[in-house]
């Protein structure tokens, strides 16, 4: 027999519990993705000798997880480290490299893996161009061999661990926390922004660029007045080294967008969210769409595709920035982007539970 206050309390607890379970179901993908990643990580680590394993498999803690950057090998990262976590592809035997990339592929979607490798290939182009004029004593290195694969923590289907794949213009940070796979924070970038292979033009971040220009040009003149900041934005505001910070949102709120404009915005956000495996990406997109009315789109620069322009998408659980670096006459050839979740970088929600 229960008293009235107890029944009220019980009702409140049931209500909160229902919301909590619903929220968990909404954000949690199947454990299949985590299990696949665990198997791939164990397979990769098994190919390494003890010394390599020490380098490739580090402890996961608040310091190690922040060691990533947009910068190339030979520089000092924003967090002060001079070398990335993990083992670089250039120091691996072919079978080890195959297992390392299989781990990355097991974690990302097909499109996400292709995007990451296109960024790696762009850096190989940069290496090919820069090597002849580089001083023999120069420490900075570009190219495919300078990309690192690291496993932070013990691969597990229940407790948090992390996969990092990074080098110049790439920092894929996937935290796997039981049923949650979280891609934030992740950095993508490219230089050159366009190159050709076997006669085919490759633009690693071309869709991000084109979809954003299409969206800004789909806005009415009044909407553009709100969206366009009227300033120069020469780099990312919340790039590497700025974990845990949230800037005040600016631009136009998607709540005033037409359904077609909202669809374009969602499609643009997918370019980052869909880097992760399909199940986790689908869960994240549901969350993004649920918060769309509270999401802002800001633009800085010209609205003619082909010219360099910065944009930012910021909602309660997402922050995306795209920043051309304005190098030389071609301001579109060197791009930095960042993808964050101010509430859940490094799967903070799972850690809080």
């Amino acid at each position: 027999m229960s008293s009235r206050p107890s029944r009220v309390l019980l009702a409140v607890l049931v209500a909160f519990g229902t919301v909590g379970v619903a929220r968990l179901q909404r954000t949690a993908p199947s454990t299949d993705a985590t299990a696949r990643a665990v198997a791939a990580a164990e397979a990769f680590l098994a190919t390494l000798d003890p010394g390599q394993r020490l380098k490739a498999n580090l402890e996961l803690n608040e310091k190690t997880r922040t060691v990533w950057s947009n910068l190339p090998t030979g520089t000092t990262m924003q967090v002060g480290a001079t070398e990335r976590n993990g083992l670089k592809l250039g120091d691996m035997k072919p079978e080890q490299e195959k297992a390392a990339l299989a781990l990355v592929a097991a974690t990302l979607s097909r499109d996400g893996f292709q995007k990451a490798m296109a960024i790696v290939d762009a850096d190989q182009v940069l290496e090919t161009r820069s090597a002849p004029s580089r001083a023999p004593t120069a420490r900075i290195r570009f190219g495919r061999g300078e990309y690192y694969v690291g496993v932070l923590g013990k691969p597990s289907t229940t407790t948090p661990w992390m996969i990092q794949f990074g080098g110049h213009h790439l920092a894929i940070n996937v935290t796997l926390a039981g049923r949650q796979n979280v891609l934030t924070p992740t950095h993508t970038g490219t230089q050159p922004a366009s190159y050709s292979v076997d006669g085919r033009t490759i633009r690693p971040l071309g869709d991000e660029n084109d979809k954003a220009f299409a969206l800004v040009n789909a806005l009415t003149a009044e909407q553009q007045k709100e969206a366009i900041l009227g300033v120069e934005v020469k780099n990312l505001v919340l790039g590497p080294g700025t974990d845990g910070k949230t800037i005040a949102p600016e631009g136009i709120r998607a709540s005033v967008f037409t359904p077609a404009q909202r669809a374009m915005l969602v499609d643009l956000v997918r370019e980052w969210v869909d880097i992760l495996g399909d199940e986790a990406a689908a869960a994240k997109m549901k969350e993004v769409q649920a918060n769309l009315a509270e999401t802002y789109f800001a633009w800085a620069g010209p609205t003619t595709n082909g010219k360099g322009a910065y944009f930012r998408i910021q909602g309660p659980t997402v922050l995306i920035e795209y920043a051309p670096q304005g190098q030389g006459d071609n301001s579109t050839d060197h791009i930095h982007t960042i993808y964050r979740d101010p509430t859940n970088d490094y799967a903070a929600k799972a850690a809080a539970r």
Binding site: D121, V125, R129, H168, Y195, K234, V237, G241, K245, G328
Partner: protein
Amino acid sequence: MRKIFLAGMVFAVTMPAEPAAHRLDEYLQAARLSLAHDRITLELDLTPGVNIASAIVPLLDRDGDHTISPAEAGAYGQEVLKDLVVELDGHLVPLTLTRVEAPSIEAMRDGSGTIQLRAAGNVEGVSAGRRRLDFRNNHQPEMSVYLANALIPEDADLHVAGQTRDPRQQGVRIEYDVRPRWRARLLWLLVAAAAVSTLMVRRARPLLAP
């Protein structure tokens, strides 16, 4: 794409050689401003480009010994501070340097070294209503590019209403609303009252039970 990756990196590169990968001739100065009831906190990250590092390094390495001591970093921080102006509702807010971290000279020369400057100003007694914070960075304007942004205040009683900047972002005006603190206090009072009531009901239950 895999096919592309395995294609032996035989790239038919279509663009002219461009070895540079970093900001070259610009001094990137990124400011983030944090608002609170009693203080303004400034984070300023200064990153010299490869081609201008030689102009910035001597400003830090004053004795020319090829290292930047904490005292040298602090002295440069004070020089930068002289070039910054913060005003709240038109009144100057003096800034005090709280931290400066300088990278290695090597890192600055390769364009990856960032000087991290942190400063704070006391603004005790900010009253409720719309407030106006003006920030201007006059440090090395001839070679610099700027970013200036307000962070979301940690205090829920403060809300950033808008930011307006000059085109270079050398200056930013941040308008923000300060809610009366009595509202927050009243809320806490209500929560405390609810908690006390709950405890009293729970303690009273055994007495009411048959």
